[in-house]
Amino acid sequence: MIECRNITKTYKNGDMETPVLKGITFTVNNGEYVAIMGPSGSGKSTLMHILGALDTPTLGQYLIDGHDASSLTQDESADFRMKKIGFVFQAFNLLPRATVLRNVALPLIYAGVPKEQREQRAKNALKAAGMDEARFKYLSNQISGGQMQRVAIARALVNNPSLLLADEPTGNLDSKTGEIVLATLEKLNEEGRTIVMITHEPDVAAHAKRIIMLRDGLIVKDEINKDRVISTT
């Protein structure tokens, strides 16, 4: 369970202050599938970084399973990310000079998983993300944007995270591949993983069970996706 209590985030660059999040409060229970929507610049990625313990709020509290994330040391939060969180970045953040397979296996290096197991799990994750096996040995700057997206998703899946945070996971995909990825997310959610996904496409958000609307750093709407909840039950 993750809980945001009146979170604000203000970026400071010298004298200039940019208030981005202005008091966000919500809770996500284990097993939920949440879509966060909002216009560009509304603070979605900023919020996602806080949820992933990559960044800390300026004010307010962020609790993971009841623990305050800002009290963690750098190493403790790294450990937490390694064990619990899968993160799909909006900008992918792949290592350009490493192969697809190595990129996906990278989180497992820090988990101390031996090499053969690592490669096996990376292959499975890549297949789950709909990645073509012929591209596994390519360098990650030799593949298309859509393929990079799938590699980024595979890397987020590889450590079996209980919380998957995906920032625009279908942003670079055609509708067919987008469907594959969304189906993967749905499957992971059915396995009991919590998923928080950012998107600004209503079609994509429609796959989630709950939709949170963000505008100018505030939650303007937070409701159950009735179509989806009713259709699956």
Partner: protein, 407 residues
Amino acid sequence: MRITDLLEETYSAVTVNKVRSGLTVLGIVIGIGSVIAMISVGQGAQSSIQSSIQSIGSNLLVVTPGAQRVPGAAVSAGRGSAQTLTLDDASAIDSTVTNITAISPEVSRRYQVTAKGTNTNTSVVGGEPDYATVHNVTMDLGSFITDQSVTAYSKVAVLGPTTRDDLFGAGTDPTGQTVKINKVDFKVIGVTVAKGGTGFNNQDDVIIVPITTAQRFLSGQTYVSSINIQAQDSKSMSDVQQQVTDLLLARHKISDPTLADFSVLNQADILAAASSVTNTFTFLLAAIAGISLLVGGIGIMNMMLTTVTERTREIGLRKAIGGKNRDITLQFLAEAIMLTLIGGIIGTALGWILAWGVTKFAGIATTVSLSSVLLAFGVSAAIGLIFGYYPASRAAKLSPIEALRYE
């Protein structure tokens, strides 16, 4: 993070930019290579000077004319220039001083020497039969100077092997032939066995004639250039030195030892003075080479700082997916150490080749010692640690999200 993974990550990071890694390694290669080569030249000089001092003979005391100087400066001071020692001094020492096995008064000077159609400029030493004992000379061909030839002012000469090669051709037997020293004819009666000295102190490039003959027909003077005394053993050296000094002071009627018109040098003193000179020389060479090692180390640091800046996003990502500060520090440190160790290995090989080349082409003796190789490796590992640590810890301290946003 496992050690094999760390090495693999390091290997792929180092090989990604081969040219840059190569140039950085080159800095270390040159540094380590020159340290090893320079130390080898210094140590080679040291051992060749020591062996040439020892090849003069063992347990030697050398009495030279001229004022006493501080050890070190006294090695060649005033030798032969002052004229205060005579053959009588030598025979007085021989009959009075105890614990000596041999005594060899000598006059020496360089002359132009000619044989049939050949000529050379070499050192001509006037000596007595004891010369052979004192200087460990053994005969290859013929015989050495005898007491009889000394008393008879015989014009006979014993050649060193190098001189023989120069005058008569390598390996020939010149006994019975004639050489002209300073226009005086001498009959060759023998050739000594090669001792293998080099340079200015070459024990093989010499002609030995009876001292009396040398005084009468060559120098025209009754003085001697040095009196070499062999003590019974190393323990009696200082006692003999004292006896000789006292005797000569008395004979020369000098009461204040600081005003002595001769000096008595002990072979151990000469050796110590020479090694202190070569030690300084070695240290100086190593220090000069050490500067290039330092420059190489700064090259490593520079490259690592550039790498950290360039790979800021990578560092951010690694931390975002679970890399701990220690993992990041270790990774960058391992890169720096890997570069310096590769540099250390190639540099050692280079130093070895350089030392070999110096010996082969410049004829200077060199010694690559294990300690200089260990020193080079220790220094290169230390450089990797010291110059790699700062960039590595800088990388580790970055906040993941700021690092990811870095452009």
